[in-house]
């Protein structure tokens, strides 16, 4: 019980996010599933924020942790940058009207 009372705000937040997420996403039409997935994938790269936060605590002379932290930042960035760029590339192909010119 104590655990729940202490973290009540977080629990509310988690539940609301869950419903909001499902509500927002359930309306996406099938033609956009792939961009949705790669866009969502890019958003999951927000874990980069955690990688930056953890670097505050890392001692600059602790080379192992520093390397691992740098690697974590690199991986997170790849996830974000790659995800958003590739989603943008896909979406630019969805034209509202049939293009008149040949490619």
């Amino acid at each position: 019980m104590e655990l729940i009372n202490e973290n009540l705000d977080t629990i509310y937040f988690v539940i609301l996010c869950l419903f909001l997420g499902i509500e927002v996403i359930s309306n996406v039409p099938a033609i956009l599933h792939t961009p949705l997935m790669s866009g969502a994938n890019a958003i999951s790269g927000v874990i980069l924020v955690g990688a930056v936060i953890i670097m505050i605590k890392v001692d600059p002379t602790d080379y192992l942790s520093l390397t691992l932290g740098g690697l974590a930042v690199l991986l997170g960035t790849l996830n974000i940058a790659g995800g958003f760029f590739v989603t943008g590339r896909m979406l630019s192909m969805f034209s509202p009207k049939k293009p008149k010119t040949d490619k």
């Binding site: 505050i56 974000i80 979406l91 192909m93 509202p96």
Partner: protein, 462 residues
């Protein structure tokens, strides 16, 4: 100070919601992507700003900025080079990166803090994030190798048993650590968990068949989101929690959608099993009728409404541009052409739509299965290009068939059906397709691309 950061996080969270919302409309989707990307940039920038004001060592700052620079450049290059057929691989690869990041966070945090300084529930959240992140990392890597054809399915029972064993070990270790059954330090637990989870990721995805890939990719995507959310709970960082949960929800929704479209339960997909047909079903002799490209061209010339049902075979043959040419030809003759797309066509959810969009086919011509299935008889000719199981009428009328119950496109209801196929091989499910024996169905053998070009050439002469 922290007020600004928190406010910025709020704005960034809202941009994620807005971005995902905009992704539900083809016209606004591009804006949505941009919005989410800007929110992300804001969140990361503010975090670095907050870190600097909390005395982030200069060396660490250099490492962070350097890694972000390199990561952005590599990500940009990778995403600009990929072929649209290779999209599922790339998404898996990026997903693996996110999983790897989550795993590394767990390891670093485990090294940084003594056992006593963190509350048990925080330690468990950390361990959970690490387990899911690590499994998602290797799972996505295996998915990447399988999708790019570098790794074959391995359906040996041993892998499945080993996967279950390592899963039990992971859960057992977590539980025994939670109740303090063994006197082991947190960092030891972290290392063992990391190893087992990396192993589990490989063992779990390896036996899963190629046609189940849309399910697996969605699921792995969802898992990375959950790992992010767990890490967010560790740092009580709202944007990580929110972002992670949105992704987890999106991935899970798509996973269930894909399962439904294949009439398979998630558990069966994960167990790597495929339903065998009931024994005793009589083997029907199928008489097929072969046709030629000139005959097909004639049929096309006299048709008013034509439907194309594309499958992954079309993507393999790179025939989407030939399809676009056919469409132009038909339109110049006043014939209407629709594309009917099954939810699991391709190797990831919605993959076929992207492939057709790449060939400049307007999305207003792409029809979803449920949209047109009840009025399939309006089409004078249904042209099936590289699809097989998703048009098998046995799914609706043969209870003994392994594909029975799977939602299909009712191509057999079309006035005439022409199937373009390489040979008489069965589809992924390994099931005979009763469609080929139907009265109104003809088969046109050959490579989808060259056959279509041939048909277009003939059509110009008619």
């Amino acid at each position: 100070m922290t007020g600004i950061v928190e406010a910025g996080y709020l704005v960034a969270t809202l941009s994620f919601v807005g971005g995902l919302k905009y992704l539900s409309s083809p016209i606004k989707a591009k804006k949505g992507n941009l919005l989410a990307a800007m929110g992300m940039t804001l969140a990361v920038g503010l975090t670095i700003y907050a870190a600097i004001s909390q005395n982030l060592p200069a060396v660490n700052l250099m490492v962070i900025l350097g890694a972000i620079l390199i990561g952005s450049i590599i990500g940009r290059v990778m995403s600009s080079r990929v072929e649209m057929t290779g999209m599922p691989q790339l998404v898996s690869l990026f997903n693996a990166m996110g999983g790897g990041c989550a795993m590394l966070l767990g390891i670093i945090e485990g090294q940084q803090v003594g056992v006593s300084t963190l509350a048990l529930n925080v330690q468990l959240l950390l361990a959970g994030g690490l387990v899911i992140g690590a499994a998602s990392l290797t799972g996505s890597m295996v998915a990447y190798y399988k999708l790019s054809g570098k790794l074959k399915d391995n359906r040996s029972r041993i892998l499945i048993y080993l996967a279950r064993t390592s899963l039990v070990l992971i859960l057992g270790l977590l539980i025994s650590f939670a109740f303090n059954l063994f006197p082991i330090s947190f960092i030891t637990v972290i290392y063992i968990l990391a190893f087992l989870s990396l192993l589990y990721g490989v063992l779990f995805v390896w036996p899963i068949g190629g046609a189940d890939m849309p399910v697996v990719i969605s699921l792995l995507n969802s898992l990375t989101g959950v790992a992010t959310a767990l890490a967010g709970l560790v740092y009580s960082n709202k944007i990580m929690i929110a972002g992670g949960i949105f992704v987890g929800a999106a991935g899970l929704l798509l996973t269930l959608l894909m399962c439904k479209a294949m009439n398979r339960s998630l558990l069966k997909v994960l167990a790597g099993t495929f339903a065998k047909g009931k024994e005793g079903g009589e083997v029907k002799e199928i008489h097929i009728k072969e046709t030629t490209s000139s005959e097909t061209a004639m049929q096309l010339a006299f048709a008013q409404k034509v439907a194309v049902v594309p499958g992954y075979g079309m993507a393999v043959a790179q025939a989407q541009h030939a399809c676009a040419n056919l469409q132009k030809q038909l339109e110049s003759r006043g014939t209407e052409l629709h594309y009917i797309i099954h939810p699991v066509a391709g190797r990831m959810p919605g993959h076929m739509n992207v492939l057709l969009a790449e060939a400049n086919i307007g999305y207003d011509l792409l029809k979803e299965m449920d949209e047109v299935n009840d009025e399939m008889d309006q089409y004078d000719l249904v042209l099936i290009v590289g699809a097989n199981d998703v048009v098998n009428p046995a799914a609706e009328n043969d209870e003994n068939s392994p594909v029975y119950g799977m939602p299909i496109i009712r191509a057999h209801k079309g006035k005439q059906v022409v199937v373009i196929k390489r040979g008489m091989s069965t589809g992924y499910a390994g099931v005979e397709n009763n469609l080929f024996g139907e009265e109104n169905c003809q088969l046109l053998f050959g490579d989808a691309k060259s056959v279509l070009q041939d048909v277009i050439g003939q059509l110009k002469l008619v």
